[in-house]
Subunit: 389 residues, 3 copies
Amino acid sequence: MTIQSALSGRSKRWGHPGAFMQAVTNMLDPATDAEKAARFASLSRDDRIFHVVLAQQFDTQSIEELCQLSEMIRKIASHRQGNLFLQTLLSDRRAMLYFIQPSTRTFMSFTAASQILGMGYNSVRDPSTSSETKGETEDDTIRVLSQYFDVIIMRHPVEGFAEHVADILNGIPRTIPVVNGGSGKDQHPTQALLDIYTLFKCFTEHNTDTPLTEYSGNPFAGKTVGFVGDLKRGRTVRSLTYLLCRYPGVRLMFMSPPELQIGPDILEYVQRNGIEYEICDELESHIGELDAIYVTRLQDEHDVNGESKSIDYYKFALTHEMAGRFKADLAILHPLPRRHELDPRLDALPQAKYWGQVRNGMWMRSALMAYIFRVDGTIRDHYRNYYAF
Amino acid sequence: MTIQSALSGRSKRWGHPGAFMQAVTNMLDPATDAEKAARFASLSRDDRIFHVVLAQQFDTQSIEELCQLSEMIRKIASHRQGNLFLQTLLSDRRAMLYFIQPSTRTFMSFTAASQILGMGYNSVRDPSTSSETKGETEDDTIRVLSQYFDVIIMRHPVEGFAEHVADILNGIPRTIPVVNGGSGKDQHPTQALLDIYTLFKCFTEHNTDTPLTEYSGNPFAGKTVGFVGDLKRGRTVRSLTYLLCRYPGVRLMFMSPPELQIGPDILEYVQRNGIEYEICDELESHIGELDAIYVTRLQDEHDVNGESKSIDYYKFALTHEMAGRFKADLAILHPLPRRHELDPRLDALPQAKYWGQVRNGMWMRSALMAYIFRVDGTIRDHYRNYYAF
Amino acid sequence: MTIQSALSGRSKRWGHPGAFMQAVTNMLDPATDAEKAARFASLSRDDRIFHVVLAQQFDTQSIEELCQLSEMIRKIASHRQGNLFLQTLLSDRRAMLYFIQPSTRTFMSFTAASQILGMGYNSVRDPSTSSETKGETEDDTIRVLSQYFDVIIMRHPVEGFAEHVADILNGIPRTIPVVNGGSGKDQHPTQALLDIYTLFKCFTEHNTDTPLTEYSGNPFAGKTVGFVGDLKRGRTVRSLTYLLCRYPGVRLMFMSPPELQIGPDILEYVQRNGIEYEICDELESHIGELDAIYVTRLQDEHDVNGESKSIDYYKFALTHEMAGRFKADLAILHPLPRRHELDPRLDALPQAKYWGQVRNGMWMRSALMAYIFRVDGTIRDHYRNYYAF
């Protein structure tokens, strides 16, 4: 059963669960390898990712290419002439940012990436200013927007919705790509890409003399990456874990209150990929072992009955007092926004990488747009001609 | 009596009816030919349309020019070099999209058209973020915006408001054009232009060997165009009818529940122009006669006492079952958004022109902007040099 | 005590007064000259204004430079080639318009200025679409935005907030400038700059043969500038007064109901600078003495108990009946929006400068951006080469 068949005859709007949600669940857990292969094929064109929907679409080669490309763009953009070059690349393209869920960071990051590459953009952020109020289905809204724009970047509260949009777009003559900017509690693949770019950057800078733009290999072998906080409901941890499982020799540590531990589907995925991991119910005693720590906030907006209130989340906060036990090369990441789980007094430490991580998102999203529209080769040529040493 | 005199002394905000609405009514139905001539003159400069307010402003020559120009822009925009050329044309202009009524389609269409021609734009969509909350009259808001922008494109709930804005702008030293993107239940001239462009394209492609960019003539002679649905309250049907009445030999069919039939003012206009028409209270038996069908949704947001609920609107739906009786060259149009009156299973048929119609809106609005800012000659020259065969 | 120390340990959101507001109050009235000097130094880089926070930052030299630059940009922008030149200047920069308070005029003015210089921009206008709903502090929001943008332009309801943002930005590695687009009841320095540019323009045109672009001197000597209306709560009057106090020989007249008179801090500042002034409780008898009149509306949104209702504000309205007593060279200004205090029938008089004042805001804000990003020299060179006579 596919989402399309669940929706056949007449499109349904999200918020009406039933058959739709069941179909989504089936999509998220395809029963057979053949189904899975067909699904990834439907998101690609000519052996290249076309619709960016799931973190699992990215293999080590595409991750490495995108990290290199992000780093090249970052360096090119540090000069005015380089910026002017970058702005020519997508100056005849237009992006639609369809962001139905609140977002500052991801939204602004994508708009900045668009401007870096000269791409026009527009947004739908509040359905109340749109034709939805006249009873249009969201499927039709997508079909209409696809007539005006060259890519749809979306954030949406429904799990699996970006994949559904890929199906809609595959079904009309003028198919344009969709990029998932976060859907439901499930996936946030571009966040995972910027996270792994940040880790790539930290680990290669600490361990090699090769600049990241030239680096090829596995910088994660022998490294311990700790995830701390609300791992059950944080989609960024889920998506990043999918990517890290591509790298043999990485060690994962999931530190959270038992009620908020990472889902069994993820653990099963980790195991299946032969990655070593540990489940812990506290942070304090492990802090000295970590090469990277990924701190996350309590996702209490997903509470049903205020169940978060009984959890002692402060046990999973990274405090100023712990700083003495940090490895010198520790990389502290946080997808932000933060609350009390990450002490602002840590901001000044060299280990604090989270503000750079924010900026890396802009470079990675630029790289991803360049990759989708196949101007990555032009960037690499420009970099090799003017910036490589 | 003019809107200005109705408003003299102190500006009034819309929503305060009385004298204002009476003045609007008088404007919409000028008593004498002299009044009518003066009115159209006030919307023109140097024998060219300046303010785009009413569908009636467009004659066969300007319609033909705009359809040709739309088609040229569409073809030029299919190449990167062509896009870069187009983006130079209005790169030193700025558009204000003053869209007080909800809109996705028209709004996005105008922003895409702006980007195609390189024009900057900004928008006011929600008066609550504006100075209106500090008690400014809407007339003053228009005067202020005219200081920052080179054209005001507006959608507004009040009938005749765009014409009132033309009056305001004519009254200040730095007069810029206004474009009506839909006002009240009355007029939606740019929708009418994109509709007639779509019909022009379908009918010339089916019947001639001349490409639309070279075509001069009347492609509507002998064609039957059916309007179906809520014809009373749909402004798109009204505006398109004004344009079709320019073409002798076209035959119009108005199919709707008696309560929702087209207004007597339109029928009177049709008759006065010597156009053959028919009034029908069902669709089923006429489907095989039609060369084009323009399907519209129930406009129940205009209901006063829920009167739509007692109407069997499904009798005026275009269903999948009817497809067998369609002419091979039938063109199905719909201004969108659609509900149940247009079966999604028809989307895959060659007769379904409504997604292309959406995209045509982007080309037509680009053409209109080019025309208003008098760069249409530059586009025609470019097309003749590089694209004509 | 500084804002930072008031906020130390953990950032507080505005809306939680107490220590924060006390710190702000202290900042606004620094106790010693040394404190004051340190404060202005923290807003500058290399002897040039970097963060634009307070009207008091501008001395006669920077005011004169900015007025000249505004006038040059205005003239260059009157030709297409000039516009294309201007658009190259900041084409690799991006502005964040963080406008938490409603605004049309200032917001649109800054976006137009950005477009004039080719600068990309984006905005946050409604915190409900942002991560604030996830519990982020506003300090962190600023830190995040500073990763994506090259300048933050802000309007905010809290007095002193722009200065606090300058502190935040000074505290992170990638420091970008902040521009105060209006904060609380306190300051609106860019409005003051456009006001003084408008006065500069009027007074030099009336009194000298030197074009403003070449003018160096004090055009205010011997001139009487009247402020009328709600002077207590209008931040534009406060900010403009700071600038006018730079010009010996100007005479200021504050005309308002006693309850709404200008604050004693401003009067003390005026006195300290040796500027002659008069306090009046009516307008009528002074109208003939004025070379400029700055009309303001009743700021009743700041009422606590509807106290404005008992005030006869109409005594402080500029009426059509007064026009006969205007000096021929009188310049009428109004920061807009207006209500009843400025009769629309005055719009047609040569003395009405308020629509031009709106447009001047766009030129002045362009000049300010050019100044901050240090491309003002390029503009002056271009002007001298192509436009000077």
